[in-house]
């Protein structure tokens, strides 16, 4: 009998357990608003920490109109772009004021998912202003060590409504805390971990020249562009101009020359080497490793290398940066070739010389890595001054809306024509090989589609795996135009360390204060007591109600 009972009980246990687990696992109810947020990058340079050091967030929200003097160590400040005051943020960060977190709201034009084209009708000077302010903010954040989470989000109607509500509460002088209710921002992600062995991948492709008998080794011309980016929000660093424009120009040049080289009658007597390198923002680490992997003969056979860096948003002037002095014969020849073509295309080309300092690890231009290996090289760029470390590396402000495909088309024309004249030895001016409406015309649709694609793909190298779809896509595209495409996987130099967790979902809850629930409890308690008394009175009479509360009369009196 007892055994049977026990068996029944035992069979009930799993059911009971299951019920308990289900009841306990029911998630906290969904938030009113859920927003995609992107975290500020977290990295170390030689052990020195930079960026935002935390990822998880669970605090009340406040706006910039918070009452002065209030304690914000457990609050998240939401700063929309139009309320952004750089000096205020700078002060806050440099004075290391305690803060629960920061949330920046960016205008929609910077979103690469902005398919509705919101904000495209801003005036040009407005856009320039927005760009400058954001660039300043980005530089400030990237070079500071911030001990709390910093996130970026895009403005949309939900979050605007929440922010308006928060502002209203703040103006009345009541900061949101546990006792007063308000909005709570929750991001639940695990602690960020180091990215172990970040890989950088270099992609190269060859277009071999026409070898006639008696030629041992044909000279080579290299065309190189770095394709990775770095920015304040790695999930948003699409680097449309820096260096998406360079990559697109390289691909188009490869396509044009593959057409020329496909027919042995029009194949030139130069090999062409195309290189898409990674590790650009980190002193062109990838280029350095790529060059080191060449053997001596190959390196010596390179006549010169052209590096492309940001050719997507210029109007009238391009710059050629060199490290050999301008009096050098090779440099003179290269520069003359370019400036002749530029004159025909109705814009200017300038020459800038910057000496390299071998003892300084800072490599400002890609051609400097070539020069350190004693290969003549030059960088073609719209920038006239070398950018600082981690500056102009395709961050927040570098979005598609600021990049101009016409500029890229003109750059391609410049480089392709100059190369052709050098390779085929054309002396006469005015021979245009890549004329519009010819079979060798520069294809604007090709450029536009690749530029659009790259402007939608964040490309921060440590967060890209060996088989990243972008790397495979670039490899496939190079295989279309060139031969012997190979990948080289390397590990990024130990000086830079990166931490993961760059994208998350933010839950915004509207919470009621504890005082509200206490009040509610009081009201309910009194309601139930009133209901009880009412029912007792109507059904049993008033005497019964009083008798419930009166103690029974003491019996001690009787014993007396």
């Amino acid at each position: 009998m007892a055994q049977g009972k026990r068996q029944v009980m035992e069979s009930m246990f799993p059911v009971i357990e299951l019920v308990v687990i289900i009841l306990a696992c029911v998630e906290l109810c969904g938030a009113a608003t859920v927003v995609d947020v992107y975290r500020l990058i977290q990295y170390d340079i030689a052990g020195v920490p930079f960026g935002s050091r935390l990822a998880a967030l669970n605090h009340h929200a406040a706006s910039t109109h918070f009452p002065p003097g209030s304690d914000l160590s457990r609050t998240v400040l939401i700063i929309p772009f139009r309320d952004l005051n750089i000096s205020f943020v700078k002060e806050y960060i440099s004075q290391r004021q305690p803060l629960g977190g920061l949330l920046f709201l960016l205008p929609q034009i910077f979103s690469y998912e902005n398919k509705d084209g919101i904000g495209r009708n801003h005036q040009d000077h407005e856009r320039e202003q927005i760009k400058n302010v954001l660039a300043e903010l980005e530089q400030l954040l990237v070079h500071s060590n911030i001990p709390y989470p910093v996130y970026f989000a895009f403005e949309d109607s939900d979050i605007e409504a929440v922010l308006a509500d928060i502002k209203r509460n703040d103006v009345t002088g009541q900061p949101a805390t546990a006792t007063t209710g308000g909005y709570k921002l929750v991001v639940s992600v695990p602690e960020p971990r180091k990215v172990a062995s970040p890989t950088i991948t270099n992609i190269q492709g060859w277009l071999p020249g026409l070898k006639s008998d008696g030629d041992n080794q044909l000279p080579t011309i290299a065309i190189v562009a770095s394709y990775d980016t770095f920015g304040a929000a790695p999930a948003l660093s699409v680097g449309s101009d820096s260096n998406g424009s360079g990559v697109v120009a390289l691909l188009e040049i490869a396509r044009l020359f593959s057409l020329l080289y496909s027919n042995p009658k029009t194949r030139g007597r130069y090999n062409l080497l195309f290189g898409l390198t990674s590790g650009g923002p980190y002193n062109y680490n990838g280029t350095h490793k790529w060059l080191r992997s060449f053997d001596q003969r190959l390196r010596e056979s390179i006549d010169y290398a052209i590096c492309l860096n940001s050719v997507g948003s210029w109007d009238n002037e391009l710059w050629i940066h060199v490290s050999k002095p301008p009096e050098n014969a090779y440099i003179k020849q290269i520069f003359e070739g370019f400036s002749n073509v530029a004159e025909e295309l109705a814009f200017k080309v300038g020459l800038k010389h910057k000496k390299i300092n071998i003892s300084n690890p800072r490599v400002a231009w890609e051609h400097e890595q070539f020069s350190r290996m004693r290969v003549t090289a030059a960088t073609i760029s719209e920038l006239s001054v070398a950018p600082e470390l981690l500056e102009r590396t395709g961050g927040l402000v570098d979005s598609r809306v600021f990049t101009n495909e016409t500029a890229i088309i003109r750059s391609v024309k410049l480089i392709a024509e100059s190369l052709v004249r050098h390779i085929y030895g054309h002396q006469e001016k005015e021979t245009v090989t890549f004329a519009d409406n010819s079979s060798l015309a520069v294809n604007p649709f090709y450029i536009r589609s690749w530029l659009d694609f790259l402007s939608r793909t964040p490309r921060v190298a440590p967060f890209m795996s060996k088989n990243d779809p972008l790397v495979l896509a670039l490899q496939k595209e190079l295989e279309e135009h060139t031969h012997e495409v190979s990948l080289q996987h390397e590990v990024l130099d130990g000086m830079f360390t990166f931490y993961d967790s760059s994208k998350a979902r933010l839950n915004i809850y509207q919470v009621a204060s504890v005082t509200f629930d206490l009040l509610l409890l009081l009201v309910l308690g009194s309601y139930l007591i009133v209901l009880f008394s009412f029912l007792v009175i109507t059904t049993r009479g008033l005497d019964d109600l009083i008798s419930i509360f009166r103690r029974p009369p003491s019996r001690k009196v009787k014993t007396a």
Partner: protein
């Protein structure tokens, strides 16, 4: 803090039932068994209604008021009334006066209704961080439902258990019973057809439940006079 809110809403939803039981003479006469039996009958009718609804109703995409569908739902709602009839007449009760029987049945009925319809949303929703007024309104609705159930049980007991009723009152009794029985259809019409928001609907329910309770109390005492 959110468990606190859940606790508050729970006592708003289920507290009045417990208070009703302990405050009125029901607790003295130990009518708990009757209430439990009524709750089980409610469960049975709910299942039958579910099957009927699943078989006969088609799922509408929009949230608008479709009179034909609502009529069908109202007809199925009368299964409720049948269940109440069963609970009042067929279950063998111990010697409880009629007065207490309908109260116990109504109480058990309302308690089962609250548990089935309101406990799960409360458990899932009120414990979260996000605050809404919905659960408090749901609790008020549960209160209105309690009053309505007891009135319906009272009218039901008048219709089926009392043999000698004054002739003039009979149509009024049936009319009131009809109104109370079709309350769900009326509220759904208000919500969908007229587009009333939840607070307004709950307010309407509370008001009508008090009015119907008063009317049925008057009818009950009117019917009771000849026998005393």
């Amino acid at each position: 803090m959110t468990m606190f809110h859940f606790f508050n809403c729970a006592i708003l939803t289920f507290g009045p039932h417990a208070v009703y039981y302990s405050a009125t003479p029901l607790s003295e006469y130990d009518t708990l068994g009757t209430s439990i039996k009524a709750a089980i009958v409610y469960l049975g009718t709910a299942l039958v209604k579910l099957v009927c609804l699943a078989t006969f109703l088609k799922v509408s995409e929009t949230d608008s008021f479709d009179p034909y569908q609502e009529l069908l739902k109202a007809l199925i709602g009368f299964v409720d009334v049948a269940g109440l009839y069963f609970a009042l007449t067929q279950l063998t009760h111990r010697n409880i006066s009629q007065n207490h029987k309908f109260q116990a049945v109504g109480l058990g009925w309302a308690f089962a209704d609250s548990v089935l319809h309101r406990l799960a949303p409360l458990w899932v929703g009120a414990r979260g961080l996000e605050f809404t007024w919905d659960y408090i309104l749901q609790g008020l609705e549960a209160n209105a439902n309690l009053v309505l159930s007891i009135s319906l049980a009272a009218l039901g007991s008048l219709m089926w258990l009392r043999k000698n009723k004054p002739k003039t009152l009979i149509p009024i009794i049936y009319l009131c019973a009809g109104i109370v029985a079709t309350m769900p259809s009326i509220t759904s019409y208000l919500r969908r057809g007229l587009g009333w928001h939840l607070p307004k609907v709950v307010g309407f329910e509370l008001f009508t439940s008090l009015v119907m309770a008063f009317i049925s109390w008057q009818l009950f005492s009117a019917c009771q006079r000849p026998s005393t």
